[in-house]
């Protein structure tokens, strides 16, 4: 059913720390690995060893530069995957009922055997979280590793999304954002976790933690240090300069 649930019993999601992310793309690779070998159609690659390789990914890391007026510019690595929105526009546009949001934990999923590959859900998503697989012709998206988090065949420490499990910097956190007492909710409250594109009205579950304020140096006027010859030299150099100029 493509009607969104009124409320969900839990709001499972990710909290991504933009302060800690080092941009190593390990989450991208572990996501591709797990989701190619497990639930649903594999994530295909096209022209993998050719001149124009491309493929289906559920998680990608962009890097942004922030130019600030009163401080040095900053580079922020920015991993992006499905935000499992409460008001998911991708679900309601689906004509077949293949897209749905689970009422038990809020995960947005695609039933691949009902997907006709029309691509309308990818158009409806402002974040670019859904990609049509070119080989299978069905829509692929982050499942929040639904086949790991409840999987009792895995050791307990592995029962979290592959991207979270693999992150070497500890920049990714997984938990119930609907429970104000959960570790992730406390983290969001403490660090001022934010929504992406709140103006789109999607009410994303995943939150992003902004970079922490950095130490600021009393920066000298760096430009003047770069100037090789001061305009008006004084003393002996000044006398030499003026004399040579007059010759």
């Amino acid at each position: 059913m493509t009607t969104l649930p009124q409320s969900t019993r839990a709001k499972l999601g990710l909290v991504i720390d933009l302060d800690t992310c080092v941009g190593c793309h390990a989450c991208v690779i572990s996501c591709k690995g797990w989701n190619t070998e497990n639930y649903g159609a594999p994530l295909s690659d096209l022209d993998a060893y050719g001149a124009e390789p491309e493929g289906t990914f559920l998680n990608r890391v962009h890097s942004f530069e922030v130019t600030r007026d009163s401080a040095a510019p900053m580079v922020v690595h920015f991993p992006k995957s499905c935000l499992h929105c409460d008001n998911a526009p991708c679900v309601t546009v689906c004509p077949t009922g293949a897209s749905y949001k689970r009422s038990e934990d809020g995960i947005v999923l695609v039933n691949e055997s009902a997907c006709i590959g029309c691509g309308l859900c990818a158009w409806a998503c402002p974040y670019g979280a859904r990609e049509m697989d070119s080989a299978e012709k069905v829509m692929k998206k982050c499942t929040l590793c639904v086949d790991r988090i409840y999987n009792e065949n895995l050791p307990e420490e592995d029962r979290e999304p592959a991207c979270v499990r693999t992150c070497p910097a500890g920049a990714r956190h997984f938990g119930d954002l609907g429970d104000p007492e959960s570790a992730v909710s406390k983290l969001v409250a403490e660090r001022g976790g934010m929504d992406l594109m709140p103006e789109q009205g999607t009410k994303p579950v995943n939150k992003y933690l902004p970079p922490r304020p950095r130490d600021t140096l009393a920066t000298p006027d760096l430009a003047s240090l770069c100037d090789p010859a001061p305009e008006a030299a004084s003393g002996f150099l000044g006398w030499l300069d003026r004399t040579l100029e007059r010759l």
Partner: protein
């Protein structure tokens, strides 16, 4: 957005087909016999060809029947239901008009309302998408409705109504362009809001996630071809609305109406191409492209 030829052809042709069925169903000057057979055949042909083209555009056409199930929330599903209902409900009227020379107005009127609703559903598929600010505006459905009704009136040889509708279509296209140009800024999405980093300073993409292509960029970030937008707008406005309206003022003949129809459809193809090519998806902000 990527201007897919299949979608452009589908929306133009099946729009004109359903527009023709609206006028035939209303039956103000109901054709009977051979004329009815040809006109209803044209309406069914255009509408059906468009629907068939859209089915083959799918990744899994064999599951297309599932698209009739989610009419509660999905405009695409509603379009499928309404389009099929139109063709079914109109059938008794079409058959009776063609073979027994007795139009069945009840089926005609019901079919005409369904055809009108189908055109509206097509427009709403685009209008509902908030992530494409240019489309997410009240000025989108009038363009689709007036284009379909004007094309239908030309096909049905209703010159008076067609002239009025072509003028209205010209105004609707103009309004859609002028107001659409402001929509992206009005939606308020920027690289700053997309990353949440806007409060810290000016944000720009430093490195894309990969050097190659991907599905998202191909489907939703179309930056080439927009540079001729102004010329194409003039072309669409001139051929799609103004010139056919002027030609219809000449003494009516099959030649004038056929010329007007061809011009209108050519102009409409340009309008539809621009409708996709000019529309910017907010996702482009993550790739430093719009």
């Amino acid at each position: 957005m990527h201007p897919a030829p299949s979608l452009i052809l589908f929306t133009v042709l099946s729009g004109a087909g359903f527009g023709l069925l609206v006028w035939l169903g209303l039956g103000l000057r109901a054709p009977t016999g051979l004329a009815a057979f040809v006109l209803f055949g044209l309406g069914y042909g255009l509408a059906g060809a468009g629907l068939l083209a859209s089915v083959f555009h799918l990744g899994h056409p064999e599951r297309a029947l599932l698209a009739f199930t989610q009419w509660r929330t999905s405009w695409l599903s509603r379009e499928a239901v309404l389009a099929s209902a139109t063709l079914l409900v109109m059938a008794p009227n079409a058959a009776a008009s063609s073979f027994a020379a007795t139009p069945l107005p009840i089926f005609g009127w019901l079919g005409a309302s369904l055809a009108l609703a189908t055109i509206l559903a097509t427009a709403m598929i685009y209008t509902q998408i908030r992530a494409v600010p240019r489309w997410h505006h009240w000025s989108t459905p009038p363009v689709f409705l007036l284009a379909a009704l004007a094309g239908g009136a030309l096909l049905a040889n209703r010159t008076g109504i067609a002239t009025a509708l072509l003028v209205a279509l010209g105004l609707a296209m103009f309004a859609h362009w002028v107001m659409g140009d402001r929509q992206f800024a009005r939606a308020g999405s920027s690289t700053g809001s997309a990353t949440g980093l806007g409060a810290l300073g000016r944000t720009r993409l430093l490195e894309p996630p990969h050097s190659g292509q991907n599905y998202l960029l191909r489907e939703m970030v179309h930056v080439v071809g927009r540079k001729h937008a102004f010329k194409l707008r003039l072309f669409a406005l001139g051929l799609g609305a103004v010139l056919p309206a002027l030609i219809l003022l000449l003494p009516a003949s099959y030649f004038t109406i056929a010329t007007a129809l061809l011009m209108h459809l050519t102009g409409l193809l340009a309008q539809r191409w621009l409708f996709f090519a000019e529309a910017e998806h907010v996702l482009g902000l993550y790739y430093g492209k719009r």
